[in-house]
Amino acid sequence: MTSLYPGFRYDADKEAISEARAKALESLLIEKGVITGKTVDQVLSYFDTEMGPFNGAKLVARAWVDPEFKKLLLEDCNAACEMLDLPNGMSGAEGEHMRIVENTADVHNVVVCTLCSCYPWPTLGLPPYWFKDPTFRARVVREPRVVLGEFGVQLSDSVNIRIWDSSAQIRWWVLPMRPEGTESLSEEELAKLLTPEAMMGVALVKAKSE
């Protein structure tokens, strides 16, 4: 869980207060015609069913089995998205300009947004807490190997690390290495192995899904 600096003092019921304030705000906005009674649920449903890491997983799995597709994905991610049967909107909000970088035996890539939490919504959905955490944002740019170790990723000394920060229009993500022992898996089974962490560079893909 998040570490609470002992110098800060928190209300014991701060979550209840935030919940009440968020509900009060949403209620007033509906009553005043800013949004409808369905707006927030519709937004949330979109990320549950249409835009999420399941899209990125399909793209990576295809890239693993099809070298021509992999080439396109690396050169023009948004164009590659149009080639697969993915929902309408892969170049929509926070996906207008996506780029993917490939992990190899010699190079390991990790993505960060030091200023906020820029994240490729159409391929990976919404950012996890670890990506939004100021500790990750501050430390990964300087001591990436140590930070990766804290995520359970041990890289050999010969692997060089590349950190991709997102301070402008590009939304970066990572094409992880295909694990050994997956030669007999179908594309669908390969897609099940992918996690958002692996597709941002803070996890390696395991040959069996958890």
């Binding site: 570490s3 600096y5 800060f8 979550e15 207060i17 935030s18 919940e19 304030r21 968020a22 509900k23 009060a24 705000l25 949403e26 209620s27 007033l28 906005l29 509906i30 005043k32 015609g33 800013v34 949004i35 409808t36 009674g37 927030v40 937004v43 949330l44 979109y46 909107g89 929509g92 909000a93 996906g95 207008e96 300009h97 030091t114 200023l115 906020c116 919404l126 996890p128 807490y129 670890w130 955490d133 100021p134 500790t135 990750f136 501050a138 430390r139 990964v140 300087r142 190997r145 804290e150 995520f151 060089n160 690390i161 950190i163 920060d165 997102s166 301070s167 402008a168 590009i170 958002p196």
Partner: protein, 249 residues
């Protein structure tokens, strides 16, 4: 120097929090939904690339709201509050404040309604959200999600720098909102890519963003960014930097 723009490389921090959930409390989802709707209903969308007929959307929201507004709300608070408050707590504070400032609600209305809801919660009663509203609002929100708001603009501007150039990041005052990580100021980098066309930012920042300009992917060597003691040898840090932040080395 603004701490919020200078997190990169901060020493003495804890091990990372590896929490994989997007939201750790249900209420966080609600403020996320509200922010997304605000972006989808923003009055600046009539100038966006997709064909949004935003003035025809029957929402009472007629303000300008973008990622820049949300980010500035977080960057412009007391630096210690930036860490004391969790990610969506900053959103809730910033967005509530915006609706009060813009006159959609009053502080009293919000406080009174929150107090009623809190009382219901204490009595184990669930407060229902209001129903209804014009479906055309939700049509626009969905359209925005699928079509986005690309900052790319065709301007014919010639980029000042080319691939392979060695450049320096300017030393400039950040103001209340910046897209330049402060720890990069004054540092040397190499231009790896010149992005096609120009890119605008949502609004004008004190440090020079706002009008469409070239953006570059720059590569920084670890030894050019950090003191020897903590660097990762052989690592390269890349970032996409607006031209306004770059000068020749």
């Amino acid at each position: 120097m603004k701490l919020q723009h200078n997190l990169g490389g901060l020493e003495g921090l804890d091990p990372v929090n590896t929490e994989p959930r997007v939201f750790v409390e249900d209420w966080e989802q609600r403020i996320f939904g509200i922010h997304t709707a605000m972006m989808a209903l923003s009055n600046h969308l009539d100038k966006s690339l997709p064909d949004y007929d935003i003035s025809q959307v029957p929402s009472t929201f007629d303000s300008f709201w973008s990622w820049a507004h949300l980010r500035e709300g977080a960057e412009n608070i007391h630096p210690f509050d930036y860490f004391r408050l969790r990610y969506y707590e900053k959103w809730l504070g910033g967005i509530s404040g915006f609706f009060v400032e813009e006159g959609y609600i009053t502080e009293d209305e919000l406080n009174e309604r929150a107090a009623l809801i809190l009382k219901d919660m204490a009595d184990n009663k669930s407060t229902e959200l209001p129903e209804g509203g014009d479906p055309a609002i939700d049509t626009q929100v969905e359209k925005y999600l699928r079509e986005g708001d690309s900052p790319k603009r065709s301007t014919g501007i010639t980029p000042k720098f080319n691939v392979g150039d060695t450049v320096r990041i300017k030393t400039i005052s950040a103001g209340t909102h910046s897209r330049l990580p402060g720890n990069l100021q004054g540092r040397i980098a190499q231009v790896m890519e010149v992005y096609e066309e120009s890119y605008t930012y949502f609004y004008e920042t004190a440090d020079g963003l706002g009008t469409p300009m070239p953006v570059y992917n720059l590569a920084f060597k670890a030894e050019d960014l950090w003191e020897q003691s903590l660097i990762e040898p052989g690592s390269i840090y890349y970032n996409d930097i607006f031209e306004a932040y770059i000068e020749p080395a």
